[in-house]
């Protein structure tokens, strides 16, 4: 590279910024543990952000700003993946609003879905979603709940081939259609699969998680808190003393640490309306994580409550 005055000034400014950053590091939150996307090696923080219900706030200006604050705290804590779907009401334009307000954070990893029964309308729906987010292209597009999956997958692989999206995936939740899910995973070179997995919903451990590892597919975990029912249910219970060993200060962190410590899991995507919760959730991906024996102990403890 030829060093011009301009690039020199830029580089100097950047290294200056890096100095400031590292000087500020002691007070800043520790960075979340990173996971490699198996198909590319790209590194992603193990906790992302879901948007189902929590970001569907319509045109409400107060709530839109609250969502933008959650996003700001998410990126500030080192988060990258935000997951949405055309099914989630106004969540997509609300994400777009937040991204614009935050001057389009470079760290963003956009995970979207295609969800339309008429397969021919898939490309138009993806384009509409892209406009809502205001991004040049999506990093990942997933076939939501396997709706019209055969044709949508063809579309997505074609888009990936010409660089219109970077990764292709499929989703399910709450243990639905795992048989078909497995067949699709076996037959198609997916980059990501998204499914429900947590300390009480462990069905995916039997076949899907091992298959994802075998086929080199990233795993995105939805409904980590059973849409909040699990955290509410555990609220009244005391955390075991040994939760401190894995650095879990709350039940939410206990559950997230259980999820992201599974060797096949790439990212868990809890949704929240609260800045303190988004920070707490990202903190769960820092510090020690449980090993296999500890994970069994965690599951048994919750089961026996």
């Amino acid at each position: 590279m030829i060093i011009t005055r301009r690039t020199f000034v830029k580089a100097a400014a950047a290294s200056g910024a890096a100095l400031v950053l590292s000087a500020a590091a002691p007070g800043a939150p520790p960075a979340p543990v990173m996971r490699a996307v198996p198909s590319s090696g790209e590194m992603l923080p193990a906790v992302g952000l879901g948007t189902w219900i929590t970001f569907n706030v319509g045109d409400d200006p107060v709530l839109r700003d609250e969502c933008a604050e959650v996003m700001a705290a998410f990126f500030a804590a080192g988060g990258r993946m935000i997951d949405s779907s055309p099914m989630y009401g106004s969540s997509q334009p609300v994400i777009g609003y937040g991204l614009e307000k935050l001057s389009r954070p470079e760290a963003l990893f956009s995970a979207e879905k295609v969800w339309i029964s008429s397969a021919a309308d898939g490309p138009a729906q993806i384009e509409q979603s892209r406009r809502f987010w205001g991004v040049p292209r999506f990093d990942l597009v997933q076939v939501h709940n396997l709706v019209a999956w055969e044709t949508h997958l063809e579309t997505l692989f074609a888009m990936k081939a010409v660089g219109q999206i970077r990764y292709v995936g499929i989703t399910t939740s709450e243990g639905r259609r795992h048989d078909l899910f497995e067949q699709i995973m076996s037959a198609h070179p997916l980059d990501f699969v998204q499914l429900t997995y947590n300390v009480v919903d462990r069905g995916a451990e039997e076949r899907l998680l091992p298959l994802a590892a075998e086929r080199g597919m990233g795993v995105i975990v939805n409904r980590p808190f059973r849409q909040g029912a699990l955290t509410r249910q555990l609220q009244g219970e005391a955390l075991p003393d040994w939760a401190a060993v894995i650095g879990a200060k709350t039940w939410a962190q206990f559950i997230l640490k259980f999820i992201v410590s599974h060797p096949s899991v790439t990212v868990a995507i809890p949704a929240t309306t609260r800045v303190d919760h988004v920070r707490e959730n990202l903190m769960a991906a820092t510090g020690p994580l449980p090993d296999a024996a500890m994970r069994e102990r965690m599951a048994a403890y919750v089961r026996d409550l």
Binding site: I53, T54, N56, V57, G58, D59, D60, V62, L63, M87, Y88, G89, S90, L146, E174, R176, R177, T273
Partner: protein, 220 residues
């Protein structure tokens, strides 16, 4: 939908209770002081039913039609459909009540002349929709600003319509019950899925109307 039996009512809820009730707050703030006009028009409807001056059927039908069109467009289409795509399909149906009412009124075949038990119960329902509904927020621990008002919010609009229709006779009357009943069912189920203690109110209004209609049939 595949494996539909694994879905619960809550799985179809796309928004939180907070977003739902703030939608009413924003709608109220945007349309104030239109509430005074809609409530006055509602009371005028009740008076017209009681007094039955000449062409009262036309006037009642036209006023109700105007509010169905307004609520369908301003509340359901412009606000509710933004947070729930399913409402984009429901809003036009709600609005369809407007031409149905206007058509019924214009044909001169509507008369609000029934004074049997069902008719009287109907007037009671209409007054409840007008007067009681806006007073609900403090009972359910919500701010006054989230009040549901006839002519602005869909539930009291549908309830008042059903009430006065119970006192009506003439051509298209049976047809006119369908849309408000359907709406109250949707609204009641939505509130139920939200775990809202108010859920039984729209369902009760719909059930009472249906029971009154059934009673009238049996009496005949």
């Amino acid at each position: 939908m595949s494996e539909w039996w694994t879905y619960r009512l809550e799985d179809f809820l796309l928004f939180s209770p907070r977003v739902y009730w703030r939608m009413f707050e924003l709608a109220n703030a945007a349309s104030w002081p239109l509430h005074l006009l809609t409530l006055a028009a509602g009371l005028a409807i009740v008076l017209l039913v009681l007094r039955r001056p000449r062409r009262h059927g036309l006037w009642i039908a036209l006023v109700l039609a105007a509010f169905f069109a307004f609520v369908g467009w301003s509340f359901l289409w412009n606000r509710y459909a933004v947070i729930d795509w399913a409402i984009a399909y429901v809003a036009p149906v709600f609005g369809l009540q407007a031409p149905l009412l206007a058509f019924g009124g214009a044909r001169g075949s509507l008369a609000f002349n029934r004074r049997d038990i069902a008719g009287r119960l109907g007037l009671l329902i209409a007054v409840a929709g007008l007067v009681v509904y806006p007073l609900l927020p403090p009972l359910f621990g919500r701010p006054w600003a989230s009040a549901e008002v006839f002519g602005i919010a869909p539930d009291p609009t549908a309830i008042v319509a059903l009430g006065v229709l119970l006192a009506a006779s003439g051509g298209p009357v049976p047809l006119l019950f369908a849309i408000p009943l359907l709406w109250l069912l949707i609204s009641g189920l939505t509130l139920h899925a939200m775990g809202d203690p108010q859920a039984w109110l729209p369902l009760l209004a719909a059930a009472t109307t249906a029971a009154a209609l059934a009673l009238r049939r049996i009496a005949r």
